[in-house]
Amino acid sequence: MPALGMAQDTGLIVSWLKQTGDAVKSGEALMEVETDKAVMEVESPADGFLTDVRAEAGQNVPVGQVIAIINDTANTSALSAPPAAEKPATVEQAPEGGSVIMPALGMAQDTGLIVAWHKSPGESVSVDDVLFEVETDKATMEVAAGHDGYIAALLAEAGQEVPVGDIVAVISKAKPDAPIRQAASLAPAAKPAPKELGPSPVPDAPKPDLNVPAMRTDAQPNGRILASPKARRLALEQGLDLSRLAEIGHPPPYHVSDLETLRTLPTPAAQTAASTQERRITARVPTSSFAEFLSWSRAEVNGDGPVPSHLMAAFASGSLRVANDLNRPIRITIEKFSGRTQQVVDADRFDASIQPEDQDDTPDLILRDMTCSAITSLGLGPSPVPVLSLVTDREAYEITLDFGIDQLSNQAAIALITGFADRLSDPTRQIL
């Protein structure tokens, strides 16, 4: 009885298509077998005569059991002869118990190569334990014992190729006195057993510890720089070192716009040379975005839009708040080209207020707005508070931050000017 499915224990003989004594050819249908899934025709494995039919239609036959013999002659004397010429030579000697057959793991599989046994004779097994590994033409698979009990017999060696349906092991309920281990006698190994598997395929050998050295743990150090592919490429092309942004605490991930900040950083050599207390950072931003934003907001409120310098104060205030992580009120003094000054408190918040002229206090930052003038650069010397100056050549704003190291840390200064530049080039950031 062949194994027609992967999880099949028995097959029901629906009908015999040949009678005892009939001549049959290899490939000719002998009988119909019903499994849990389908009814299939079983073909004759050889040319000859059908003799010694041992199961009738309607009988449910365990997989692997002999149901008939294909003989060279139609001579029914074979009936009286002991079934010596057939496979069960080994099975006959096998002890009582549940038998394990070579399963059909694929649809077009005739034999299976036993790669290794996972249990040895006498060992106890439970139904789901892996009993052996089988290699078919497609893959190597593990086969479960299928019965609880003890290994009473292993009837094939590792390395042997066994026909599908042949019994390869017997599992007994009671612990066997003399468990059997032997090679399959009727299925000569198509591939000789590999030497190392031959002598001791006993799988009791301790499994190799999986202490393979952990890979890549140090291939991704914590200091990894997060940057967009384009930012990385441009930095490489322009000889810029992205790690310097990380050093000054510029928040990642880095995009192309952050390369501007990187360019404004003093070179490491220049940094050591600078020993004065006064520091300066400059940045350039195209005027177009802010101009567009202004005209849009003017259109939104029918002509009377926000005062540009108040917006800039809001940007400066917001950038300073983020740069220094401040939660207290921030005072910004706006100095204009005309000489007028105005102090705004919390320009970046909804409750922003403009201070009356007589109540001016020491500001946190001076915003020197020279955008309505022809000035294109300025350096007005030390100031008690940081000064953010703005000039323009119509195409771009040039932003300069003058500060003393006692007023702002380098890191905060860079964050401040970057934040301001970003807001100016993308005013919706302030809203966000």
Binding site: L226, S228, P229, K230, A231, R232, R233, P253, H255, V256, S257, D258, S289, E292, F293, W296, D426, P427, T428, R429, L432
Partner: protein, 332 residues
């Protein structure tokens, strides 16, 4: 000024013109002739061409699809009308195992010049079994071309090209766009497959949309323009073949892209296009390429839920804003 006609009229004109030009062209499907025609698109055709060329079939999609494949193999140019894209599941074997593979498996001896006209698109309150956009299933199969018209102009030009193609073509029309009007020339024109259309030029981000998602992308671009973000909108017009060059050129320019398609996002058309852009324009990207498709749920009947299941202009604009401002959308 050029006349404006609806997408349904454009499809009708394309089919009628090709049937007049080539008498091997015929059309078959459910209710296409005497029963009044699905979505009223084919009205007038049976009067002009008769019931021998405009054939009403029983409600048996696998049957009439199989008939069409056989007819195409033996010298006709059938147009199959599949009333809902959701019925594609019924014709998968005829379409994917037969029509798509016959040319290959016959060693080039047989052609299958067949057009399968069907539709897609949600927000019509048709519930989960009549609202799907299943073009990704078809686009996955080698041997099938997939056209996705985004307006009446595309619908006509792509349909005529499809009918003249010697290979099976599946055209997905958006159900919601049948009454949308667009300028369509009186004179004959064809739109070649594999040529994308740049609907709007921009410099900050590329929005790639298919079918009705082109409109969504255009509306998103309008919102973004008000915020100073310049979005380029591209309609690939056919997803098989795909005009990779135009898409890549745009993304290399803008460094950012969102791919918008009404099919489910998981394993979808957006994933395929985004993946190609990432592979071939990696060093030009300043932000991850983002996919926006229908949520991974059956399309709901509930109007409130259905409307948020598919991409919206506001949703696309929100995502574009994040990408352009350098916001990390998926923290490491």
């Amino acid at each position: 000024m050029m006349r404006e006609i609806t997408l349904s009229k454009a499809v009708n004109e394309a089919i009628a013109e090709e049937m007049r030009r080539d008498d091997t062209v015929f059309l078959l499907g459910e209710d296409v002739a005497e029963a009044g025609t699905p979505f009223k698109i084919l009205s007038g055709l049976v009067e002009e061409f008769g019931t021998e060329r405009i054939i009403d079939t029983p409600i048996a999609e696998p049957g009439f699809m199989g008939i069409a494949v056989g007819a195409a193999m033996t010298g006709s140019r059938p147009i199959v009308d599949l009333m809902f894209g959701d019925f594609l599941f019924l014709v998968m074997d005829q379409l994917c195992n037969q029509a798509a593979k016959t040319h290959y498996m016959s060693g080039g001896k047989l052609n299958v010049p067949l057009v399968l006209r069907t539709n897609m698109g949600a927000t019509r309150r048709s519930a989960a079994q009549h609202s799907q956009s299943l073009h990704a299933l078809v686009a996955h199969i080698p041997g099938l071309k997939v056209a996705m018209p985004s307006s009446a102009y595309e619908a006509k030009g792509l349909m005529k090209t499809a009918i003249r193609d010697n290979n099976p073509v599946v055209i997905f029309e958006d159900k919601l766009m049948y009454q949308d009007k667009a300028e369509v020339p009186e004179e004959e024109y064809l739109i070649p497959f594999g040529v994308a259309n740049i609907k709007r030029e921009g410099s900050d981000i590329t929005l790639i949309g298919t079918s009705s998602m082109v409109q969504v992308a255009e509306k998103a671009a309008e919102i973004l323009a008000g915020e100073g973000i310049s979005a380029e909108v591209i309609d690939p017009r056919t997803i098989v073949p795909l005009d990779e060059d135009t898409l890549l050129k745009s993304v290399r320019k803008t460094s950012r892209a969102i791919v918008i398609d009404e099919g489910h996002q998981n394993y979808g058309v957006t994933a395929e296009i985004a993946s190609r852009l990432t592979e071939k324009a990696f060093y030009h990207l300043d932000a991850p390429v983002v996919r926006m498709g229908a949520m991974d749920v059956p399309i709901p009947f509930s109007p409130a839920l259905e409307d948020i299941t598919v991409p919206t202009p506001q949703g696309v604009a929100d995502m574009a804003r994040k990408l352009c401002s350098g916001t990390m959308i998926h923290a490491a």
